[in-house]
Each structure stands twice: as structure tokens, then as C-alpha cells.
């Protein structure tokens, strides 16, 4: 009987510890609940072995640690890498010129399993791979193209080269974009490059000016030619029309029964027209033989 209260005390302690134990157990079991956000996937492991490669977005339950573990990766989050943006170190072009270049690259995870298990540090590998690809692209491109028209070609090649190597390394990464943010000649030779640009503009201007002059000259020549022809046509027209009129008049005179009278009148009119304007020298008939005659 004396032991009774003791034993009830013990009973109470063991009951409380039992409740705590059960509560702890429940909590531990509940840690198996996890959520996967939209755009993410989880990889589920059982003692390190993959049991589900792609757990979709939503709320899920797995056995608590250490039986099951999971790792979440985002398939939509884009990561941006900047190369050469903050250092002014030069890059070499295919024709052994030095330029300054900066490249922006974005990528995302494509294959969660590869991303997690193929490489130890995928982000670092991506950065170094893209840098190497930029180096390769630049060392095979002439400086003029790298600075002007060849930029998109370089971007395309960097993307291609990087993706090829990352796929080969099973990095589980997809390069989304490459953008050649800066490609300029170094300060020390910037003047030289500007001079070339000016010269190119000069060339274009000279050719354009010559073209304008040539055009003006030609159109002037065409106008002149047209005028010449028009004049000739007008003269010809007048000539024919006048001839027509005269021919008709002569014809009428010839065909008329009083033709002789017409000619006589014409003769007189002609004399009347021409004699008054001329100086006249009248010689005696004796001198007539000494004058040359024209017929």
C-alpha cells in the first residue's frame, strides 16, 4: 500500500513519456510531406537511389528521413552568366587583332537527373564552357566581322558550341540565349577603326556623287537629243508642207489654160520685188557683148 502512490507517479511519468514519444513519431512521419512548386520538379531518392525522376508540382508524401529524400530543381528559372563584362582584358580575333568583348548567356535546367548527378558543379561548368566557346568563335572570326556584321554569327556559334559540349558532358542544361553585349576595339586603336569607318563613308559618298553627276549628265544629254530630233522633225514638217503648197501652186499654174498669163504676172511681180532692192548699172548695147552672161 505504501508503494501505491510511487507506482502511480511512475505510471504518470511513463504515460507522459509515451505521449511525447508518440507525438515525436507522428511529427517525424509528417516530415515526409513536401510540396513541389509550379515550374519545379523533384527527384525522389530512397537511400540515395532514384525512385522517381520527375515528381510533378503539387503536394506529395514520401517516407521521412533517412528512408526517402528529395531534391527540387526549377525547370523554368533562367540563370544569367556575364562574361567579360567587368574586365577589359582582350580577346584575339582570327586575324590576330585584339578586341574587347562581353557576352550574356542565359540557361535553364533541362534534365534534373543529369543536372544533379553528372557534374559536380554544373553552374561553373556552364560558365567555363561558354567562355571557351566565345574564345573559339572569336579566334576564327575576322576583326571587322566581330565588330560589325558578324555578331549574330558569333552568338549562334557560341550557343551551338556550348550546347554541344554541355550535352556531351550530360550537364542537363539548356542554353536559351547568347547575346554579344559588347564588341569594341581597344581604346589604344579606336581612332584607327574610326578612320576606317570614315573612309568607308567617304567611298560611299564619292560613288554616290559620281552617280548623281552621271545621272544629271545623261538626262541632260537625253533632253538635248530629244530637242535635236524634235527640231529636225519640225523643220522636216515645215519643209514638206511648204513644198506641198508650192508644188500645188505651180501645178495649178501649169494646168491652168491661162498659164502664160500667170507666168508673165509672176515675172513682173518678181521684178517688182527684186529690182527695187538692187543697185543697178545700165550699160549701152555696144557693151553687151563684153559682159559675161549667165543662164
Amino acid at each position: 500500500m505504501i508503494d501505491f502512490p510511487k507506482s502511480t507517479a511512475f505510471g504518470l511519468v511513463s504515460r507522459i513519456s509515451g505521449i511525447i514519444l508518440i507525438f515525436g513519431l507522428v511529427c517525424w512521419i509528417l516530415t515526409g510531406i513536401y510540396t513541389v512548386d509550379q515550374g519545379e520538379v523533384a527527384v525522389l531518392f530512397q537511400f540515395g537511389r532514384v525512385v522517381d525522376k520527375r515528381v510533378p508540382a503539387g503536394i506529395h508524401y514520401a517516407l521521412p528521413y533517412p528512408f526517402h529524400t528529395h531534391k527540387k530543381v526549377s525547370l523554368t528559372r533562367m540563370t544569367t552568366i556575364e562574361i567579360g563584362l567587368n574586365d577589359r582584358a582582350g580577346w584575339i580575333t582570327g586575324d590576330l587583332n585584339i578586341i574587347e568583348a562581353a557576352l550574356l548567356t542565359t540557361y535553364r535546367i533541362r534534365d534534373p537527373e543529369n543536372f544533379l548527378f553528372s557534374t559536380r558543379d554544373p553552374a561553373r561548368l556552364v560558365e567555363k564552357t561558354v567562355t571557351a566557346a566565345l574564345n573559339t568563335a572569336l579566334t576564327t572570326t575576322p576583326v571587322d566581322q566581330a565588330l560589325t556584321t558578324g555578331k549574330s554569327e558569333i552568338e549562334k556559334r557560341v550557343k551551338q558550341l556550348s550546347q554541344d559540349f554541355l550535352t556531351e558532358s550530360k550537364a542537363g542544361v539548356l542554353i536559351l540565349s547568347t547575346h554579344l553585349r559588347r564588341a569594341i576595339p581597344p581604346e589604344q586603336v579606336a581612332g584607327g577603326f574610326k578612320e576606317v569607318m570614315n573612309a568607308r563613308a567617304d567611298k560611299l559618298r564619292m560613288v554616290n556623287e559620281a552617280g548623281t553627276i552621271a545621272h544629271t549628265k545623261l538626262s541632260r544629254a537625253r533632253t538635248e537629243g530629244f530637242e535635236l530630233i524634235s527640231q529636225a522633225r519640225a523643220q522636216a514638217e515645215t519643209r514638206v508642207k511648204t513644198a506641198e503648197g508650192k508644188a500645188q501652186a505651180i501645178m495649178q499654174m501649169i494646168e491652168s489654160p491661162e498659164g502664160a498669163a500667170y507666168t508673165q504676172r509672176l515675172y513682173l511681180e518678181t521684178l517688182a520685188a527684186i529690182l527695187p532692192r538692187m543697185k543697178k548699172i545700165i550699160v549701152p548695147p555696144e557693151a553687151e557683148e563684153r559682159i559675161m552672161t549667165i543662164k
Binding site: 586575324d95 576564327t140 576606317v196 505651180i250 502664160a260 543697185k279
Partner: protein, 301 residues
Amino acid sequence: MKTLRLALILVLFLGIYVLATAAVPVEENQSALIFQFGRVIRIVDQPGLHWKLPDPIQTRFLISRKIKVYDPEAREYLTEDKKNIVIDYFFTYQIADPLQFHRVLKDDRIADVTLDDLVNSALGSSLGRYELTSLINTRPEMTRMTGLLDEVVIKTAAMVSETGVKVNSIKIKRLTFPRENEQAIYARMFSERQKIATQYRSEGMEQARKIKAEADLEMEKVLARAKKEAACLRGEADAEALNLFAGAWRKNPEMYAYIRKLEIYREVITDKDVLVMSNNLVGGELDMPDVIGKPYRSVRE
């Protein structure tokens, strides 16, 4: 009662210890070496839960087989044509034989440095057999850079075959000239630019001249064509005019000639001409048409 409870707790802790050290969870792309008193007795390559005897009887050592990147500092090299270049490369490798790796290299950091020494010397000796222009060239098909790097990979791989490591690839992050050569290169670049500028200007001049000369030629052609056409038109008109008089002439040639002559006198004779005539004309009793046959003389002063 108290000792019993103590024993129970002891057994519980011992059990946890045994479970914890006997279980070997292995991740994907990972290997576990199982040692028994310091000697490897088993290698586990498969991921998942594996068992061994608890520590300290058997111990484990985990080795990752994931690809690793090593990126040393840039170094200077010499090409076959004695050009100094600075190369900043990185290489990737992975552990292919965990047991061999553990025997020879043991540690990642030792692996990095050892491999880098080999890659460096292989790259140095390979570069010595290539000219700079065969590494850097504007025509991608002319560059033998890929071949050179493959060569270095093969050479290094042969040298590290004993270490259980597989060198995957070597990539050049950046290829530059040594700083002390830069000024000379800038000077060369500048003179090249000037040459190109001069070339553009002379090309412009040449093309402009050509365009002008061609325009002049074309202009001459256009004018010549126009003149020819004008002459043709006039000639045609003359012919047509003559043709028109032909009818009248055919009908009465003498009378036609007479009328035309009168016309010609009217056109030809001006106030500067002098008429010399015999005084029997003045009388006015002449038969007029005969006068045409009479002596006339027109003299230009």
C-alpha cells in the same frame, strides 16, 4: 530494476550505432569502398542502401564519379614559330576506377594538381609543334586547335591510365598575347587600319571616275544617235519635197523651171546685189518672158 533499465538504454544506443554504421547509402554516380581493417574488400557502384559490418570492423569511403572541372591560372606558352601566347584553359575529368584512384591519388586536390601538371606539359609540347596561324585563323576549317586539344587529351589520358582517372576534355577559355607584346600588336593594328582606310578612299575615287567616264561615253552615244536621227528626218523631208515637185515638172518641164527660177531669184537676190543690164531693157518694150534668156549678171559686192 535500475540496472535493467540502464542495460535497455545501452542496448538501444548500441543498436542505433550498429544500424548507423552498418548502413551504406550510396548516391547516383557515387562509389563506396568498403575496408576491413584498412584493406579494401568490396566496391559498391550501385546506388541505394547497402550493408557492411559496423565500424570499426569495416569502414567505408565514398567517392563521387561526377565530372569535375579544374581551371588553373593562365600560363604562357611558345608556338612553333616562336610566338608567345597566354592560354587560360580548363579541363574536365572523372574517376573511372575508384579503387585505383584511391590507391594512387586518394584525394581530389592531389588529383587536380597532378592532372594539371600533366595537361600543362602535354599542351606545352604539343603547342611547340603548331604555328600560331594554324591555331588562330579566320577560316574555321584551317584551324587545327581542336586536333591539338584532342592530342593533349590522348597524351594525358595515356599518362594517367594508372590513376583511375579519365580526362574528358580540355578547352581553352581564353587565348591572348602576353602583356608586354600588346603595344607592338596595337601598333600593327593601327597601321593595318590606316592601310584599309587608304584603300577605301582610293577605291571610292576609282569607282567614281569610272562612273563618270561611263556617263560621258553614254552621253556621246545618246547625242550621236539623236543627231543621226535628225539628219535622217531632214533627208527624208528633202526627198519628199522633191517628190512633190516631180508631178509639176513632168507635166511641163520648161514652165516649171521658169517658175522655179523666178522663185530662186526672189530668194537669192538681196539689196547687196548689183544688177548690170543693157539699156534697151529700160525701154520697157521687151517681151517679158524672154528676159530670162537675156544677159543677167548678179555680183556680190
